[in-house]
Amino acid sequence: MLLELSPDQEMLRQTTARFLADHVPSDVLRRLRADDAGFDRGYWAEGAGLGWTSLLVDERHGGGSVSGTGLVDLTVIAHEFGAAAAPGPLVVTNVVAAALSAAASADSAAAHEEVLAGLLSGETIAAWCPPPAAGGTGEIVGTADGDDIVLTGVARPVEAAGQADCFLLTARLPEGRTQLLVPAGTPGVSVEPLRSVDLTRRLGLVRLDAARLPRAAAVVGEPGTADETDEWLRQLALVIVCAETTGAMQAAFDLTVRWAFERYSFGRPLASYQALKHRFADMKSWLEATHALADAAAAAVAAGTPDAAELASAAKAFSGDYGGELAQDCVQMHGGIGVTFEHDLHLYLRRITLDRALYGTPADHRLRVADAFEHSKERA
C-alpha cells in the first residue's frame, strides 16, 4: 500500500478497516468455513455502501473515486481485505463493474445499467469467469440462433460462482471473442463448487450446456473486441489481488513480530535471537518490495502505461512467491501453534495461497514477464 495516502484515501481505509474488524473478526471467519456462501449478503451490501464496488465505475453510472484514480483507491480497500482476510467477492464484482461501466460509457449496452446499479448497491453479486489468458481454464463457444446466442463450455476457477447472480464471460462467437453477461438462472447454466484452501472465499466451475440467451441483452461492449477488454480486466484483477496479498502479508508479519517480542525462550524474547532477527529482516525486505511492486503495478495499470502488463505480472509473480515464503516463515516462527485452526495465522496463509493461484500462478507470470522483457529488449 502507498506510504502516503491522501486524507480521503486514509478515511476510506479506516472506514473499511473498522467495518471489517467489527463484522468479520477472526472467530467469525472461522465460523464462516461452514457457511455455503462464505459471506453474508447484508454484510456485502453494507460494505458496498462504503464504496467497495464503486471505485472502477464512472461517475455517470453512479461510481466515482476519492482520489481521481479509482483503481489506486480500490487497492487501499483490497489491502485492508487482505489484512483482515475478509470475505466477499471484491475482485470479481469490481472487475465486472469496471467492464459494465466501460461498456455503458461506450453506449453499447445500456441494458446492463440495472445490473451495474445492483453491483454498486451490493444487492447484486457478479462473478467474472477469467479466460485462459487470465489464468482461467476451459473455453466457451457460442453459436448464433436467430436473436439468441447458445453457449457451451466451462470456466474455472470462478470466484463466488455459487453466489453470483450473473456471470461476465468471454465466448468465442462467429464474429470473434465477445464478452457476455449471463444471468445465473439461465437454463443450461450450472455451477459445481470447488474446494479451496481459503476459509471464506468460494470458487466454482461454471458449466454452460447449450445455455440460450438473447444476444441483445447479453453482449457487453463491442462484439469481437473481447481480447483487448480481457487484457484490461486481467490487469485490474491482478492489481486488486496483489494489493490484497500485500495486506495479508503485512498482517501476518505484524502478528509475528508481536509474537517475537512477547514470546520468551531460554529466558529471552524470540526477537533477541540473531538467527530469527535476520529472517525478520529478510521478510521485511520482501514485504516492502511487495508493497512497492504492487503500488507500481496499480499506478501503471491505472495510467495505462506501456509497462502496465509487465509490472502487473511482475507484482503477481513476486507477491505470490514471496508472500508464500513470508507466511511460511511466520508459521515457522510460531512453531506448532501456527498451524492450529484456533490460531489466526493460517487465515492469512490461506488468503495468500489462494491469491497466488488465481489469475495466473507465479510461474505463469514469470513467463509473461520474460516475453514482455524479451520483446521490449528487441525493440530497444
Binding site: L194, S196, V197, P269, T340, T353
Partner: protein, 437 residues
C-alpha cells in the same frame, strides 16, 4: 503380576528357530517368511505419511487395534524388541538384526503408531533410566503392544525450550501431585501411558529442578483436549493436569535429576530413524511429500514433459536420495563413534528443509489447481492443504532452528547462545507475556 506369569516372547516359534536367529542370514529368512505370511502388503502410496486427515475416529481406533495385534504377532513370533534384553522379554539381538527386519518389512503393514514415541524415546529411556521394577512392569507390555506411550515433554509455554517446563510436581508423602499442561502428544486419545517431565524445584536453575514421572493417561485429573490443525487433522492433543497423583515408585531417575534423564530422552528422540529399538520399513520415517507422487501430479497438470516440471521433479528426487544417503552416513558415523551423537541433528535439519522443498515442488507442479480443486481432480486435490501444512516438517520433533543450534554448538563446537535462564533460580527467569500458563 510378575513377568513369570506373562506370555513368553517367541512362544509361537520353536526354541531352535529362536536360537538360529543369531545368524543374520537365517534371521532374515525367518523374518521374510513371517512377514509374507502374516502381514498385509501395502500400496506404495501408503508408504509416505502425508499429514492429511485421512481416517475417521472409528477408522483410527480400528487401525490402532490392528497395530496392537501386529505388535503382539511380532512378540509371539520373536520379532518384538529385537534389541531389548531378554530379561524384559526382548530378544537380546543386535542392531544389525533390527536393520534386517526393517529391510524385510518394506512394502508391508507395520505398527507405526506404536513405534514413536513408545519404543523410542519412551521405552529406550525406561531401559536406561528406569528402576528394575519399572522395567519389568512396562517393557514386556510395550513389546506386546499392550501399552502405548506418549511423551509429556512440550508445554504450551515452552516452544523449543523443553527444560523450561512449568508443569509442577509437589511431593506429598509417598506421592507426587502434578499440575500443569502438556501439548503436541500425537494420538494421546488412544494411548495408555506417558513419560512426564515436571518441575520439582523452582529455586534452582532450570536444568537442576526437573524430575521425570510415569503417568497413566487415564489417571484422575488428566483432561485431554484434541487440537484441530488448520487442515482438520486432530491427531495432536493437549493435556491439562489437575492434582494428578503419582506414587514415588513411578519416578524415573533422581528427584531434581530429571535433566539427566531428559538428555537421554532427547537423544533417543533425535535418533528415532536410526534407533535399534524401532521397527520401521527402511526409507520411511519421512513425513513429507513422496517424490514419486510428483510424477503423477505433473502428469495430471498436463506438464510432465515441460522441462521446468522435469527440473523440479529431478530436484525433488535428488533431495530424497540425498536424505536417504545422509541418514545412512549419520547412522554409521554415530555407531562407530566417528561422528558425535549430536550429529543426528544434521539429519533432522536436512530432512526438514528437504521435506518443505518437496512439498513446495508438488504445489508448484499442481499449478492453479493446487489452491482450488474439484473432487474429481485426483492427485491434484489437497495439495494446497499440504502446502499450508508445509512447515510441520521443520517444526515437529524439534524445530530446525534447534537443530541448527545443536549442529553449530555441539557438533562444530561454536560458542553457545547467551541464555538468561542458566545461572539463576528458575522462578526468576524472565518469561514474557506469552509464556504464562
Amino acid at each position: 503380576m510378575t513377568s513369570e506369569q506373562e506370555p513368553r516372547p517367541g512362544s509361537a516359534v520353536s526354541a531352535a528357530e529362536l536360537a538360529a536367529d543369531r545368524d543374520l542370514d537365517s534371521f532374515r529368512r525367518r523374518a521374510r517368511a513371517f512377514i509374507r505370511e502374516n502381514l498385509r502388503a501395502i500400496e506404495p502410496e501408503e508408504r509416505f505419511g502425508l499429514m492429511r486427515p485421512k481416517l475417521s475416529d472409528e477408522e483410527e481406533l480400528a487401525a490402532v487395534a490392528r497395530e496392537r495385534e501386529v505388535q503382539r504377532l511380532f512378540y509371539d513370533h520373536g520379532f518384538a524388541g529385537l534389541c531389548f534384553p531378554e530379561e524384559y522379554h526382548g530378544r537380546g539381538l543386535t542392531p544389525a538384526h533390527q536393520r534386517v527386519f526393517n529391510e524385510e518389512i518394506v512394502g508391508y503393514e507395520y505398527p507405526g503408531r506404536l513405534q514413536a514415541p513408545t519404543f523410542s524415546p519412551c521405552a529406550a529411556v525406561l531401559l536406561e533410566c528406569g528402576t528394575e521394577q519399572q522395567k519389568r512392569r512396562h517393557l514386556p507390555r510395550i513389546l506386546r503392544g499392550e501399552e502405548i506411550w506418549m511423551q509429556f515433554l512440550s508445554e504450551p509455554s515452552g516452544g523449543s525450550d523443553v527444560a523450561g517446563a512449568l508443569t509442577t510436581a509437589v511431593r506429598e508423602g509417598d506421592e507426587w501431585v502434578l499440575n500443569g499442561s502438556k501439548i503436541w502428544t500425537t494420538g494421546a486419545w488412544w494411548s495408555d501411558w506417558a513419560l512426564c517431565l515436571a518441575r520439582t524445584n523452582w529455586d534452582v536453575p532450570k536444568h537442576r529442578g526437573l524430575t521425570v514421572f510415569i503417568l497413566p493417561l487415564r489417571a484422575e485429573g488428566v483432561e485431554l483436549h484434541r487440537i484441530e490443525m488448520l487442515n482438520g487433522l486432530k491427531d495432536f492433543c493437549q493435556e491439562f493436569l489437575t492434582d494428578v497423583r503419582v506414587p514415588d515408585s513411578d519416578r524415573v531417575g533422581e528427584v531434581d535429576g530429571g535433566w539427566t534423564v531428559g538428555t537421554r530422552w532427547l537423544f533417543h528422540e533425535r535418533m528415532l530413524h536410526n534407533s535399534p529399538f524401532v521397527t520401521m520399513p527402511l526409507g520411511t520415517g519421512y513425513s513429507g511429500t513422496n517424490p514419486a507422487m510428483l510424477v503423477d501430479v505433473a502428469r495430471a497438470a498436463g506438464t510432465l514433459d515441460n522441462p521446468r516440471s522435469r527440473d523440479l521433479i529431478g530436484e525433488a528426487r535428488v533431495l530424497d536420495l540425498a536424505r536417504e544417503a545422509l541418514a545412512g552416513r549419520i547412522a554409521t558415523g554415530i555407531r562407530s563413534g566417528r561422528m558425535p551423537d549430536q550429529s543426528a541433528a544434521i539429519g533432522r535439519l536436512f530432512t526438514g528443509v528437504a521435506a518443505t522443498r518437496v512439498t513446495t515442488i508438488a504445489f508448484e507442479l499442481a499449478g492453479a489447481t493446487a489452491a482450488a480443486w474439484a473432487e474429481g481432480d485426483g492427485t491434484l486435490a489437497e495439495i494446497g492443504n499440504d502446502f499450508l501444512m508445509r512447515q510441520v516438517s521443520c517444526i515437529g520433533g524439534g524445530t530446525t532452528e534447534m537443530a541448527r543450534n545443536v549442529i553449530s554448538e555441539r557438533v562444530l563446537g561454536m560458542p553457545r547462545e547467551a541464555a538468561f535462564d542458566r545461572d539463576r533460580p528458575f522462578r526468576d527467569v524472565p518469561r514474557g507475556a506469552r509464556n504464562r500458563l
